[in-house]
C-alpha cells in the first residue's frame, strides 16, 4: 500500500515537473496546464498506482485492525522522502529530514488517537 501510493505520487510529481508550472495562476493558464498534464504519460502511470494503493488499503483493513493500519501508513512520509531523494533527485537537507521524521511520528500518534 505504501509503495504503490508513494510510487503513484512520485510518478505524478515527475509528470508535473516535465509539464512545467503554469505561467500565471489565472484560471486560463491553469486550465492549459491541466490540459498538458492529462496528456503526460507519467500522470497516467501515477493514477492507477494511487488507485492500487486505495485498494490495498481496503484489503489491509479487512485483515488488520484500523488502529494499526492507519498509524503505520505514516511510514509513507519516510518512504516518500527516500523516493524524492533517489528517484526525483531532490536535495533533502538535514532540516527537512528532521521535519519529515517528526511529521511521521506525529501522524502516527494522531492516527492512533
Amino acid at each position: 500500500m505504501i509503495l504503490s501510493s508513494t510510487g503513484g505520487e512520485i510518478a505524478i510529481t515527475h509528470g508535473m515537473k516535465s509539464v512545467g508550472e503554469p505561467s500565471r495562476l489565472r484560471p486560463r493558464a491553469v486550465l492549459q496546464f491541466l490540459g498538458r498534464a492529462v496528456r503526460n504519460g507519467w500522470f497516467w502511470a501515477g493514477v492507477p498506482l494511487m488507485a492500487l494503493s486505495f485498494y490495498a488499503l481496503l484489503v489491509l483493513l479487512s485483515w488488520a485492525p484500523i488502529s494499526m493500519v492507519i498509524p503505520s501508513s505514516a511510514l509513507s512520509y519516510v518512504v516518500g522522502t527516500f523516493g524524492a531523494k533517489f528517484i526525483l533527485g531532490e536535495d533533502v537537507s538535514t532540516a527537512r529530514w528532521a521535519g519529515v521524521i517528526l511529521v511521521c511520528i506525529g501522524v502516527a500518534l494522531v492516527a492512533a488517537g
Partner: protein, 147 residues
C-alpha cells in the same frame, strides 16, 4: 525569475488550498454518505447507492472540493519538491484535531496532542527549507518562455 520569498509564499498558499480542499471534501463526503446510509454489497444495493449518490447535492459539493484538491496538488508539484509538499500537507491532521475540539467539542487524548505538536514542529522545519531543489525540465522552460 521569481524570488525565493515569492516561491515560498506561492507554495505555502497552494499547500493551504490543498489541505482545506482535502479536508472539506472528506468531511462533506462523510456527511453525504451518512445521509445515504449503509450501502448493501449486492448488485441492487450498489445500483441503489449509485442512484442516491449522483442525486445528492452534498456528494457533488464533496467531489467539487476533491477536484480542487487534485488541481492544487498537481499545480504545486509542478514547481515545488515532493519532499516539501508531502510533509507540509500533514498540517491537515493538526487542523482536523483543532476542528474536532472547537466545532465538534470532541475530547482529544494527550497522545494525540503530542502528535499534533510533533506535526506542527515538523511542518515548521520543512517549511523553512527551500521549496525547490530541482530544475524544471528544459522543454517546460521553453514552453513557459514562449507563452
Amino acid at each position: 525569475m521569481p524570488s525565493e520569498r515569492r516561491l515560498r509564499i506561492k507554495t505555502l498558499v497552494m499547500v493551504l488550498a490543498m489541505v482545506v480542499c482535502a479536508n472539506a471534501g472528506d468531511l462533506l463526503l462523510k456527511r453525504g454518505m451518512m445521509q445515504i446510509g449503509a450501502v448493501e454489497l449486492t448488485v441492487q444495493g450498489i445500483a441503489q447507492a449509485f442512484r442516491l449518490t449522483v442525486t445528492n447535492a452534498t456528494i457533488w459539493l464533496a467531489i467539487f472540493f476533491l477536484i480542487g484538491f487534485m488541481i492544487s496538488y498537481m499545480t504545486v508539484l509542478s514547481w515545488a519538491d515532493y519532499s516539501y509538499v508531502m510533509p507540509a500537507g500533514a498540517f491537515g491532521y493538526a487542523v482536523l484535531t483543532f476542528l474536532a475540539v472547537i466545532v465538534l467539542h470532541e475530547s482529544v487524548s494527550p497522545r494525540r496532542w503530542v502528535g499534533v505538536v510533533a506535526i506542527c514542529v515538523g511542518v515548521l522545519l520543512v517549511g523553512q527549507t527551500k521549496p525547490r531543489t530541482t530544475e524544471v525540465s528544459s522543454e517546460a522552460v521553453v514552453r513557459c518562455e514562449s507563452s
